[in-house]
Symmetry: C2
Subunit: 544 residues, 2 copies
Amino acid sequence: MAIKPLRIIPLGGLGEVGKNMTAIEYGENILLIDSGIMFPENDMLGIDYIIPDFNYLLDKKNLVRGLIITHGHEDHTGAITHVMQEINTTVYATRLTRGLVENKLKRAGMLQDVSMITINAGDKVNIGPFEVEFFHVAHSIPDGVGLGITTPAGLIVHSGDFKFDYTPIDGWPTDLAKLAEFGGRGVLALLADSTNADRPGWTPSERVIDSAFDQVFLKAKGRILIGTFASLISRMAQVAEAAERHDRKMAFVGTSMVENARIARELGYLDIPDSLIVPLEATFKMKPEKVVLMCTGTQGEPSSILGRLSRGDNRQFDLQPDDTVVLSSHPIPGNEEMVHRTINRLIQRGADVIYDAIAPVHVSGHASQQEMRLLHQLVNPEYFIPVHGEIRHLKMHAALAVESGIPADHIAVVENGMPVEFRNGKMSIGERIPGGYIFVDGSGVGDVGPVVMRERESLSRDGVVVIHVVLNPDNNHAEKIEFSSKGFVFMRDAEDLFADAEEHLRELIKRTNGRESASVLEREMNRYFYSKTRRRPVVVAFIS
Amino acid sequence: MAIKPLRIIPLGGLGEVGKNMTAIEYGENILLIDSGIMFPENDMLGIDYIIPDFNYLLDKKNLVRGLIITHGHEDHTGAITHVMQEINTTVYATRLTRGLVENKLKRAGMLQDVSMITINAGDKVNIGPFEVEFFHVAHSIPDGVGLGITTPAGLIVHSGDFKFDYTPIDGWPTDLAKLAEFGGRGVLALLADSTNADRPGWTPSERVIDSAFDQVFLKAKGRILIGTFASLISRMAQVAEAAERHDRKMAFVGTSMVENARIARELGYLDIPDSLIVPLEATFKMKPEKVVLMCTGTQGEPSSILGRLSRGDNRQFDLQPDDTVVLSSHPIPGNEEMVHRTINRLIQRGADVIYDAIAPVHVSGHASQQEMRLLHQLVNPEYFIPVHGEIRHLKMHAALAVESGIPADHIAVVENGMPVEFRNGKMSIGERIPGGYIFVDGSGVGDVGPVVMRERESLSRDGVVVIHVVLNPDNNHAEKIEFSSKGFVFMRDAEDLFADAEEHLRELIKRTNGRESASVLEREMNRYFYSKTRRRPVVVAFIS
C-alpha cells in the first residue's frame, strides 16, 4: 500500500504558531496536540481570552483519535472545555497535567464526559496509526513532555515547551538520551519551541533563583510577598525551601494559587511539609518577619492580589510597613506598562519591591539559542518546522537551524492554518485553511467579530452620543430633542456644546422637513461634533 | 537680608518625575525648565497626549521669569503652545532646540507671540535672581544642555537628558570639565536623569551603530528602509555616512522626518551633501540597491509609514521583494506589542527586518549606572534629587547615589507635585501641590476627566445598547420598543437576544404601570443583559 501524505497543521490565529493547538493528519486519522488559549492583546477590547479556531476539525470529528496535552500551562490546556464540547476524544496527559486539566473540567461540570488516559514520560502509546513516545522535558511547570511520533510517513519529534536545565528544581532534566536516540533512528521532521529564538546563550537554571531568594530573605525586615504565576509549581518549591532555610512560615493567597498547590501536593509534585504551611488568616497574627506569602498578580492584572494591594483595595489584608514584594516573573509582552505601574504603586505604598531588573528572581522556562542548537544536533532532523513563537521568532529559529546544517529549503516557516505536508519523504506547504481567532467574551464564544471590535474601538476613542428627536406631526419640525452622551465629554461641562448641537439639528430638520432618516442625522451630527471638538463619537439617533 | 527658601517643584501627573516640566522658585521668582508632553498609556483611551498640570502657576504668572528648554525632544518641548497660551514668558533654548520649537509655534500661528532668546552651551545668563550656566550634554538629539543654576540659596545642577558618550556623532561630548568645576565650587543639589537607573554598566556610544549599519548595507540586496524617531538627527547623519560608504542615495519620508532634517541642515546640525539626498519620488525609478529611505513608525504607530507598509495600505509606495527594513529604535514601554506586530507583518510581506534584538542598530540616549556614578562623583552634591524616571527608577538611582557616598537622608525621592525645599542649606519636602494629568483629546484640553475615562473603559469592554420606549398614553404600556447596539453583539446574530430583551422590558413596564424612570430601566436592562451574556454593556434608555 502506498504511503499517504502526512499533514502537520498548526491551528489558531495570528498568535504564536502551533502554540495552542496542532493537528497531525494521516489518511483518515487526526492526532491533536494541546488545546490552549491565547491572552488578548491590548487592542482586543473587552475580550476575555482567545481559543484556536478548530472549525477545520468540526466535519472530521470522527477522525480525531486523541488529544495529547504536553503540559499544564493555560496556553496548552485553557481551551479544553471548548474543544471537548465539540470533539469528544480521549485526552492523554501526565499525572500533574491531568490533575490540572481535570480541575478545569470539574469546574465546568464536564469531568464525567471526558475520558482521560494518564501517560508517563518513557511510555509508548499507539493512538490510531501513530505510535507516540513521550519523553520528559524540563520547563517552568513539572511533568511536561515532548513527543516522538512514529507515523507511516516517518518519525516526527515535537519538543513541547522546553529548556535544557541540568539542575531543575524537581531534579528531572530534559531527556537528552531519548532525543539522541531519536536522532540515531532517523527523524523526518522536528517541531521545536522558538519562544526565545532571539536570546543568545543558555537560559539559566531555575536554581539561580535560590541565591537571589536568599538575598531577599536575609535583607527583608518584615513580611515577604512573592508573586508569580499560579502554575509555577517549581517556584512554590523554591519559596518553601527558602522559607525553611530562613525560618518563616508560608501561606498561599488566592484561589488559583491555593488550588494548584493543593493538586501538585496531592499528586506528589510539590514536597512541602505540612508544618511549613499556614493558612493566610494565621499569618495576620504572626510576627511579620516569620511570614512569606505566595500570590498572583505579576502581570499587573488589576483584579489580582498584587494589583489590589498596589491600589490599597485588597479585602483581606493590606501592605504593611517593611513588606518586601518580589515579582518572580517577567512581563508577558504587552503587559509591561501595567506591570511597571503596579511596581510604582507598590513602592508608593511603602513596599520594597524586587523584580527581575533588580535581581535574578525569575528565569525563562524556554530554551535560548545555544539550547536550540543542541536540540538540532541531537535530533538531526531531515526537515525542520520552528513552532511556538511569532513569525519573527520562527525566522530567527530557522536562521539558527541553517547554521546547524539544516538546508534552508528543508525548513518550513509557516503561519497558523498553513499545513506542512510530507509526501514520499518530501516536504511542501499546502493550501491555507481558513480560520483565525475565536474570541471568548463573557458567555459568548465567537460572537464578537471584526464589526463589533471596530465599534468598541470607536467607542473607546471618543464615546457615544445618543439623540432622541420627537417630530411634531403637524409641521414635521423637531418638537423635542434630547441628548445623552457617554465617554465623549463631561455633559455638565458641555451644556453650550449640546445647546448649539440642538440648534444645528433643529435647523437641519426644519430645512429638510423632517424627511431625513436617523442614519443621515447620525452622519450629520458626527460631522458636527468633529468640527466642534475634533472627536468623532459614535452617534445613535432615534426619531419618533 | 535673610535668604528665602528655595523650592524645586517637578510638575505633572503620575508619569516620569520632573520630565515634562520643573519649576524653580525663589521668593517672588519662578524659573521653568522644559514644557513637554507625555504619551498616553494603553488604558488612557482616546487620549492624544498629556500635558503637565501647571495650574499651580496660573495665579503666579507674573512671577515667571523665563522658560528654559533643555533639548528638542517632544517630552521637553511638546506642550510649548499650551504653556505659552497661559504663561507668556521668555523662552531660552539653543539654536537647534529653538528651531524645532519655533516650528511648533509657527504651525500653531503663535510664532509672533513668543519671545525667544538663543543661548549656547557655555553661556551664563541672568534670569531674575537665577544665574544660569548652560553646559553641553550628549544625548540622542544634538545641542542639548544641562544647567548650573546659581540661586541665592546655593548652586543647583540639572543634568538634563544625558549620556557620557565619548565618541558622539557630532563630536561634542558631555562637558565633564564643567561638571567637575561645579563640583569644585560646591553644589547644593544635583537633579539627574534616572531613565536607565536599572541598566548596569555604560550606555554604548552612538558610534557602535555604524558597524551594524555596515553589516546591513553589505547584505541588503534591495532597498533599505531605516525607521527611527524624526528627532534622531544624529541617526540621520549616520545613515547618510553609511549611504555614502555604500554608494546609495538617501530620501526622507514623511512630514516630520522631512521637516526636522530640513531644520537641522539649515542650522548646520546635519552635514549631508545635497548630492546624497534625493526626493522620495526619484527613488521609485532608481535601482533598489542604490536607495536608502528614512522614515518613522518604529513604535508600531498604525498611521506611520512603517505601520502602513506593514498593512500594505501606504499610498505612495509599497514594500518590494528584497526590501530590508531596519528599526533603529527601542520600543517605548507599552508599545512592545504594537512594535512586534508591525515586525511580524513586515516579515509576512517579505521584508527582511532588522531590529535591536537582532543587531545593535540602536542605543539608548540616556546614561546607565556607571555614568550616573561618574556624574555623582564629578558634581559631588550635598543633596541629590533623582528625576526623569518612574518612581522605581528614582529609587534605584537613589540607591546608586548612596553607594556614591551621598547620605540617604540627603536624597529626595519625590513624585510630581512634591516640592523639595531648601532653607538655610537644609532640605525638606513640602506639602504636595494638587494636580495631575491634563489630557488633550482632539481640540479639548483638560475636558476629559475620570468620569469620561471610566465611561470609555466600560464602552470599550462591552459596548452600548440604546433603548427607545414609546409608551401608550392610555394604559402606560409599551407601545413600541426599539433597540440599537454598538460594540455589544453583532445585532443580526442576536435577534433572539433582543426579542427576549424586548419581552422582558415590556413585562417590566406593564408590571410597574410605566412609572419607572429611564435610569431604572437602564439598570434593569444592564442586569438582564449580564444574566444572558456575562457582558455589561452601557445601557441608555429614552422613554417617550
